[in-house]
């Protein structure tokens, strides 16, 4: 029989990845507890945020194959909603994180309805999402109630878990890592579920997917809602962490592309790709900035362009692809399942 019933848990590529990714998160948490430098902790928190954002993006931008280039709208919307609700209405930040999920998810649904109903796909979809993020930026820049160009400041006076405010940076790292772990698990659950199959089908060939009874528009919308909602929550957490946001920052195009660089170079169909991609790239950028000062941003932007172009050309499936090849080789002999497959989560089928 071709399919082997009794297979090692780790021979499944998705299982292997989720364990490695969560293990890495744990290591970062333990390692972080020994770090005393606020500067280092700051970088670690930002890396965790970028890793979570990258993972969330990969659900829509990777798994469903949508060219979701303007992703920062959801992050920014979440960040601003939190800022406004917290400063103007005094709503509990934890509740804000939840509310930001729903409002960003709603935004994602609206964008999906607009674009998919009118048949905007591929590059037009990409341009639409990028343009929309900039529309939000300019609306907020000119909206005085929301602070206009000055943005929103949060004042943190005391350590209080309930109001998500800490003098020290360390608690933020722990919370960021817990969020990251939750996003990783969500990505894993999606990949292992029916939705994962639909997304794969839609990504590979939407006509054939439709012929098999998969409502392509609905599946794409679902991935957008999930992906956008998570970004909103992370945005809300970012506001609490940074204690200062302005439109040029949370709707910045440069930041937008920085966020996508991790999953694109790491592997947008994988679980480990976005996590390790961001964990490597974000600190590199921050260290460069610390080392070169303001010049780093300009240099880094040029580097981005180059790295993105080269990465997309030569690493279409990201670095994770090479890890997957190794993984397949490593477990192929023990499982005797022939060549295996790209996603690897089904080779253990029964009979």
């Amino acid at each position: 029989m071709k399919h082997v019933t009794n297979k090692n848990f780790f021979s499944d590529w998705a299982n292997w990845q989720v364990v490695v990714a969560l293990g890495f998160v744990l290591v970062c948490g333990v390692g972080g507890s020994f770090v005393d430098s606020d500067y280092l902790l700051q970088i670690m928190v930002l890396a965790a945020i970028y890793a979570a954002i990258g993972t969330a993006w990969s659900i829509a931008g990777g798994l469903s194959g949508l060219l979701l280039l303007g992703y920062i709208s959801f992050f920014g919307a979440g960040a601003y909603l939190d800022g406004l609700l917290f400063t103007k209405a005094g709503i509990n930040p934890w509740l804000c994180i939840v509310l930001s999920f729903f409002s960003a998810a709603l935004l994602a649904w609206l964008i999906s309805m607009l674009t998919l109903r009118f048949g905007l796909t591929e590059d037009y979809f990409a341009m639409f999402t990028v343009a929309l993020s900039q529309v939000f930026k300019y609306i907020l820049l000119n909206w005085d109630y929301a602070g206009g160009a000055t943005g929103i400041y949060l004042t943190v006076v005391k350590d209080d878990f309930w109001t998500l405010s800490f003098i020290d940076r360390k608690p933020y790292l722990y919370i960021a890592l817990v969020m990251l772990a939750a996003v990783i698990l969500t990505n894993y659950a999606v990949q292992k579920s029916r939705l994962g199959y639909y997304l794969a089908a839609v990504r590979e060939n939407d006509q054939a997917a439709e012929a098999l009874g998969i409502n392509v528009r609905k599946v794409k919308t679902q991935s957008m809602i999930l992906s956008g909602g998570i970004a909103g929550s992370i945005g809300a957490f970012y506001t609490q962490f940074a204690t200062f946001i302005d439109p040029k920052q949370v709707f910045s195009l440069a930041t937008n592309f920085e966020m996508l660089l991790g999953p694109v170079l790491g592997g947008r169909l994988s679980i480990i790709g976005p996590v390790f991609g961001a964990s490597f790239l974000k600190p590199t950028q921050d260290f460069l900035r610390g080392w070169m000062g303001g010049e780093a941003d300009a240099v880094y932007l040029i580097l981005y362009g180059a790295v993105l172009a080269v990465g997309i050309l030569f690493l279409p499936y990201g670095a994770a692809h090479y890890v997957q090849r190794w993984h397949r080789k490593r477990y192929a002999t023990s499982a005797q399942s022939g060549t295996g497959n790209d996603k690897g989560d089904l080779t253990g089928a029964r009979k």
Binding site: H3, R194, A201, E204, N205, A208, I214, N341, D342, L346
Partner: protein, 252 residues
């Protein structure tokens, strides 16, 4: 009429000035294998696309199992029980053969994942794809892809299967296997409509033939009889041949 599984009424599809399907009406009883033949560009694939929802007819009606499915979404039509294959095969190239079939077996959410895997394993075996089940679909040779196309479609457990030239490009032995497979599918209670150029297969399989020419149904009936009709010969071979055929028919 209620006996019929599929009823197509005066279906019209125009592309600009070209009428690809011109008032086509026919019906199919459950359990039949119906062949649709006709010269290139006669509207066979367009007819399929209209029935399966990939195109919306300009006029006319498509009624399946008592439901009016004219202009519904393809995924919805599939859920009602019509599966189709594509003339130009459309595998999910980056997924394994097995995963391709599982995707079909999920039936748009009406089947759970574990059950779908079991079903897919059965279908893979029935279609003779077991040796390549773990291979990437994109790496299959054409015969394998055609078979995968059929496997994925029947995994959705349709009542009606539309096969669009699944035998084109196959070697004679592979054609024989495909014919056997289609018989096996019909044995399982599935009604089949197939578009095919390969007359050997059509003659072996079909109980009834429809002949399309320039979007119009010009003949219908038992395969032998239909193929001898002068208008059918004319559609394929032109006036002279039709004349000769008519003479021959008269003499016989």
């Amino acid at each position: 009429m209620s006996e019929q599984l599929l009823v197509v009424k005066k279906l019209v599809k125009r592309f600009g000035g070209l009428t690809a399907v011109d008032h086509a009406s026919f019906e199919v009883a459950p359990g039949r294998i119906l062949g649709v033949i006709g010269p290139n560009g006669s509207g066979k694939t367009t007819l399929f696309a209209n029935v399966s929802g990939f195109l919306t007819p300009d006029e006319g009606q498509v009624i399946f199992d008592g439901h009016d499915i004219t202009g519904r979404r393809p995924s919805e039509i599939c859920s009602l029980g019509i599966a189709r294959t594509f003339q130009i095969v459309q595998p999910f190239a980056g997924l394994s053969v097995f995963e391709n079939v599982v995707t079909g077996a999920l039936r748009g959410g009406r089947t759970g994942l574990n059950e779908a895997r079991d079903k897919a394993a059965d279908v893979v075996r029935l279609c003779g794809l077991s040796p390549v089940a773990d291979q990437l679909a994109g790496a299959l040779p054409i015969a394998g892809r055609k078979r995968l196309e059929v496997a994925r479609a029947i995994a959705t457990q349709p009542q009606l299967l539309l096969l669009d030239e699944v035998m084109a490009g196959l070697r004679p032995t592979e054609v024989d296997q495909a014919v056997e497979l289609i018989f096996a599918i019909r044995q399982g209670g599935v009604t089949v409509i197939l578009v095919e150029h390969l007359m050997r297969a059509v003659m072996a399989l079909c109980e009834e033939l429809l002949v399309l020419q320039q979007g119009q149904l010009i003949a219908r009936g038992e395969p032998r009889t239909v193929c001898d009709l002068p208008e059918v010969v004319r559609a394929y071979f032109g006036e002279t041949a039709a004349h000769a055929a008519a003479q021959e028919l008269k003499n016989a």
